[in-house]
Amino acid sequence: MKTIYFILLGCLLMAGEVYAQPLKAAIGIEKTVAGTQYGFGLVLQSKRHWQWGGFYQASLNYTRDGGQLVNPFYGITLSAPLAKADRLTFYANARCGVVNEIFIAVVPGLETELQLSKKISFSALMSVRMSYPSAQLKMTFSL
């Protein structure tokens, strides 16, 4: 839980530093070879559509006693725009972070963002997790 607070705090501080840049919040679901992970993130977007921020995601392990978060993965994310066409934007993405508190992981990916409205966009991110392809779907809200 402390980790989540740090990510949120970090992103808000960054937002203060770069006042003119809009802050976006995202919720997402990622399917990997090791199972499905659920998470959220906060990113800043520059005028040239570069995005950077923090993210947190984890798997849910259901037992008789209830759900439990396992294999947490958190860190920083950076997206560089490759091409833009009307409502679609293509990004090269990299996520760098820590899995299970000590294991450093770097995840490259390609993201397609579809602008649904001024405030809401939808993204599909194809990455390589644990040397197998993974797919992530994200809903992003401009704050």
Partner: protein, 212 residues
Amino acid sequence: MKTPTVPTPEVIIDGRPILKSLRVNHLLMAHVFVSVFILMMGCEPEIEPIRQFITYKGDHYSWPRVSETLQSKTMAFEARFNETAKYDFKDLSIQSDKNKLMGFCDSNSLPHDNSARFAWQWFNDRLEIYAYCYANGVRLEQFVGVVELNEYNHYEIEMADGQYIFRLNNLPAVTVKRGNASGMGAYYKLWPYFGGHIAAPHDVIIDIKSIY
């Protein structure tokens, strides 16, 4: 005579009729939800990721070359050997060289500094499995058990404080001292390697099913 202009029923915002825009957005939303449903709810049965590693005759390293890091404090996998695991070097000192099966480097370490691996050798006409570690540059080996050919066996290496715990099927766990490397870092996985000093006398095939 000038004809009167008919008022448009649509409100124009950003040069785009809002009603039309809403209609497009509804279509997009529907498209998105269908995509989510298709991507996440595929009804094909899950497959187990099995890789077949081949160490070709005269080589030490196996193919395919895989680069992967560990993301859990327990590395678990299943491995299957076949008849290609049998070899006879006619010299017991070479015959007892340990071939590496799978394991990992400890935090940011090289294999010969701090690492933990399962190793194997064809000895006494049977396939013997060993715990094979480096702790601060010192090599440590310990017998774990014997496995049969042509069947999957379950292997686990757990990182604990100051020790590695090796488990093979339901055999008693074996503990080996762990070096000083620990904490946050990259834990590179180590894949099959033949030898020792002598390269593979023929193609050696090992099937490995990683458990994530």
